[in-house]
């Protein structure tokens, strides 16, 4: 394990936990440290426990761990909630003058730093800055150069004017000095080394929005829902600069239909939602496929069914994305694995949608959408973005796709399953698109032969994609291991970190992370070569395990988590170890 450091701030929703955490995370990133953040939040605006956790290292960090080195506790509950993660020597920063915190007992072996957060904040110009006082105290406790914090404060409060920035800097100084003056002997031996690297810090929703703009998306329609709303928030105010537009629809039915309309007009178009919204969009999703409209639909999954646990992690919508909608719908389902992949898979989603004239699901999840991760900026290299608009016809080429009487054939039967596309305004291209079964011209038909030809044509796109696209999984771990661990979505990073814990236990594994869920790679050979196959996912029934069992006709072992919290590296390693051990016992 790289020497990493874990910090958290916890309190009640409404205490400014998020923004404080973000300021600290940004300061670390600006100091050239890698950061991985996670959030504990409840589905309420005020009150209720909430925390923002920052894991940081000079090396890449990919997941959360069960460990806390410094905790800023704004409420007694913050200590209770995190007791398991605190350890001998952990530092707890709290405000003993706050009535609710007056009688807290710092657990045996830990270091309590009683800092009058509110009073010092008032000295600096206002009680609202009490969290910033705590950040100053944290800097002192970790020997972290407070100037990095200054720079982050400037970024966050710069818009509000220099005096606000100065007050915040002052608040941080007061926190720092208080610890220096009052705890000169406390043995706080955390040192946060800095490096010369310049990282960027962003979350999955933001990366999806950025990917959309990079891909030339011009139209976004959505309806607010946790944890997908940030995609809309990101795009609003940015996409306009690139000639695009964001609409807040009246509901998800309108959102997907607005997006469909814009896509029919020829714009690269997208909507994003979470499970309940996906349910509502299902009927139109079928229309999108039948009318052969390119459209990107993002599902940032959260715990279901129904309203489930809106602020908690789950990968429970896979079946809905693979099979949802009546009838049989050719589609793509892509699963990004990291914040960076959220960007690239979004770009790819637009290309696939236009190349194959079909809807594309982007299967993101809460754990990736709301966590921030640091990257080298060139991980988002705009020069590497390519746009492929597929078979768009113009006024000249249209003649090759017309009937003798001049009717355009938007659903022409082709070998690769993809037909020519005429964007409205193209002369000679006027045509009807419909959810009804249709002939090559888009005219309704119940002709049995044409029905079969059209169904086959649409499905052929998937076969073509299997041939033309590189659907390979990403590989990690020991390529020669007999133990194969397969996963999808945000678990990838956790699994990669779990490798070290597995190594410690003398277990080698080969990891396959599958970013194409439909069409997906054929894993039969890999499965046959392995003694054990374990599928890791955040749902109760093992939806992906089911599909790969079906694909490969082989039984797999399952490691599932569905309590609402994403996997942690050490815990996941333990689960895999037990699963492998259990199967060996059975065989023995």
């Amino acid at each position: 394990m790289p020497a990493d450091f874990n910090w958290a701030i916890g309190g009640e929703a409404g205490d400014g936990i998020d923004s404080t955490g973000k300021v600290f995370a940004q300061a670390l990133s600006r100091a050239g440290r890698h950061v991985f953040t996670s959030k504990d939040f409840a589905s309420r605006i005020r009150g209720g426990y909430t925390a923002y956790k920052v894991r940081t290292s000079t090396e890449k960090v990919r997941s959360v761990v069960d460990r806390l080195d410094v905790l800023v506790a704004l409420t007694p509950r913050t200590i209770e909630e995190n007791l398991d993660e605190l350890h001998e020597g952990s530092v707890i920063i709290y405000d003993g003058e706050r009535t609710t915190m007056a009688d807290v007992e710092i657990p045996e072996g830990m270091v309590g730093l009683d800092v009058p957060l509110k009073r010092l904040a008032e000295d600096a110009g206002g009680a609202v800055m009490r969290n910033v006082v705590a950040l100053g105290a944290a800097c002192e406790a970790t020997s972290f150069d407070i100037e990095h914090l200054d720079s982050s404060l400037k970024k966050h409060f710069g818009d509000k004017g220099q005096s606000i920035v100065d007050n915040n800097k002052q608040a941080a100084r007061l926190g720092q000095e208080h610890v220096r003056d009052n705890y000169p002997d406390a043995d706080l031996d955390y040192d946060l080394d800095t490096t010369d690297n310049d990282y960027i810090l962003l979350n999955g929703d933001e990366a999806i929005g950025m990917g959309a703009i990079a891909a030339g998306c011009k139209y976004y329609a959505g309806y607010p829902i946790t944890p997908a709303t940030d995609v809309m928030t990101y795009l609003k105010g940015r996409i306009e600069h690139f000639g695009g537009h964001v609409v807040q629809a009246e509901d998800e039915l309108a959102a997907i239909n607005l997006a469909l309309g814009a896509a029919r007009a020829g714009a690269r178009s997208m909507t994003a939602t979470s499970g309940p919204g996906i349910d509502l969009m299902a009927e139109t999703f079928g229309l999108v496929a039948t009318s052969e409209t390119p459209l990107v639909v993002v599902d940032v999954m959260r715990s279901g069914p129904s309203t489930g646990m809106p602020t908690k992690q789950e990968q429970g919508d896979l079946n809905m994305m693979l099979y949802g909608g009546h009838g049989e719908i050719p589609r793509f389902v892509l699963a990004p694995t990291t914040v960076n992949e959220c960007f690239w898979k979004t770009v790819e989603a637009f290309n696939l949608a236009e190349k194959y004239q079909t809807p594309v699901y982007l299967a993101a999840d809460l754990a990736m959408a709301v966590t921030e991760q640091t990257f080298e900026p060139d991980a988002f290299d705009m020069d590497a973005v390519e746009i492929d608009r597929g078979k768009v016809v113009d006024e000249e080429s249209i003649a090759d796709h017309q009937t003798e009487s001049g009717g355009f054939k938007p659903h022409e039967i082709t070998e690769d399953g993809v037909s020519p596309r005429a964007i409205p305004g193209t002369e000679g291209g006027a045509h009807m698109s419909t959810g009804l079964e249709h002939d090559e011209q888009g005219r309704r038909t119940e002709d049995t032969e044409m029905r079969v030809e059209q169904v086959d044509k649409r499905n052929r796109k998937i076969e073509t994609a299997r041939e033309r696209e590189d659907l390979s999984p990403r590989e990690f771990g020991d390529p020669d291991s007999d133990n194969l661990v397969v996963t999808w979505g945000s678990n990838e990073g956790t699994l990669v970190e779990a490798l070290e814990f597995l190594e410690e236990a003398d277990i080698d594994v080969r990891i396959l992370s599958v970013p194409y869920l439909f069409p997906r790679p054929d894993l039969t050979e890999e499965f046959e070569a392995a003694d054990e196959v374990v599928v890791v996912e955040c749902n109760a029934t093992g939806q992906f395990a089911d599909v790969v069992e079906h694909d490969t006709l082989q039984r797999v072992k399952r490691v599932n988590k569905y309590n609402g919290v994403q996997f942690k590296a050490d815990e996941l390693a333990e689960d895999i170890k037990e699963t492998l051990a259990a199967s060996q016992e059975v065989e023995a």
Binding site: K218, D251, N257, L258, G261, A262, R264, E427, A430
Partner: protein, 288 residues
């Protein structure tokens, strides 16, 4: 091209399968004539159709078109128009499609005021599903699913539109060809959401709201001294339960379309870069 466009250019080569005598024939003819008359041609026109007998209209017309899912035609039309304001967008559907399953979208389409026209073929019945009560059916109108009548008051689409902030509200009658065409033309020319409720009789399932009924009861506002820009007068008219009106009931002459207020004037189908747009690297810089 537009100078030579005749309304028959908007006809597709599919023969309508509507029952002989169905009001939708006249409604459609008027729409095609109005489109041609206002200088549009099939290649710059986008028709969005709902589901129902009325929704089949997209199939019988020739233009860029989509026949969507039940009740969702309005958001599709708005999406098309926002993405390319150069297109002439016309949305058409039935009273069931628009005021029942699609009622929510109706209210919001009115509020949004996208520059398109919305033609509702109101036959006060569900035609395609063979004669059930629609939201505009009379309280005592007996149907297979409501043998004693719906026993609830009908939706008042005109009042609903006015209450939602409509900038253009009109009512027409499919068999009064000239007036119908004129009214649709006014809706097209209106800068904003041009809503026209068209009485388009169903000769198969509705023997109450017939051609004769409308012919006898309709009052043409053009033949009175009615001022459609007077919102208070419009309030009175749309709430008048004793009469059926034809003509423009309300028009806000200062109406500004959604595209105007949101500065939408470009064709979003165009992407002039092979990779990410220029300036896109600034997006990354933001996260330092």
């Amino acid at each position: 091209m537009s100078s030579q466009v005749r309304f028959t250019d908007f006809k597709s080569d599919k023969q309508p399968t509507w029952c002989p005598g169905c009001g939708d024939f006249g409604t459609m003819n008027g729409m095609m004539k109005a489109l041609a008359e206002t200088g549009n041609d099939p290649d710059n026109t986008f028709v969005v159709a709902g589901i129902g007998c009325s929704g089949k209209i997209g199939t019988y017309m020739h233009s860029y078109a989509i026949h969507g899912v039940h009740g969702r035609a309005l958001p599709v039309g708005a999406g098309v128009k926002m993405a390319n304001p150069d297109l002439e967008v016309m949305v058409a559907g039935g009273d069931g499609d628009g005021y029942s399953i699609g009622a929510g979208h109706f209210v919001h389409a009115v509020r949004r005021n996208v520059d398109m026209s919305y033609i509702v073929m109101d036959n006060r019945i569900y035609g395609l599903t063979k004669g059930q009560a629609s939201p505009t059916s009379r309280e005592d109108f007996e149907t297979s699913t409501t043998p004693d009548g719906p026993q609830q008051p009908p939706v008042n689409p005109l009042a609903l539109a006015l209450a939602s902030g409509a900038t253009f509200i009109a009512q027409s009658f499919s068999s009064d060809a000239l007036r119908h065409q004129e009214i649709v033309q006014q809706a097209i020319e209106h800068d904003g959401f041009g809503f026209v409720n068209v009485f388009s009789p169903c000769v198969t399932f509705n023997d109450v709201d017939t051609y004769d009924y409308f012919r006898d009861s309709l009052v043409d506002l053009a033949e009175t001294d009615y001022d459609p820009t007077d919102r208070d007068a419009a309030k009175e008219k749309v709430l008048d339960a004793d009469k059926e009106y034809m003509g423009v009931l309300y028009q806000d002459e200062d109406s500004q379309s959604y595209e105007q207020t949101h500065g939408l004037d470009s064709d979003m189908s165009e992407i002039d870069h092979e990779g990410a747009p220029e300036d896109a690297t600034d997006l990354v810089r933001e996260f330092y």
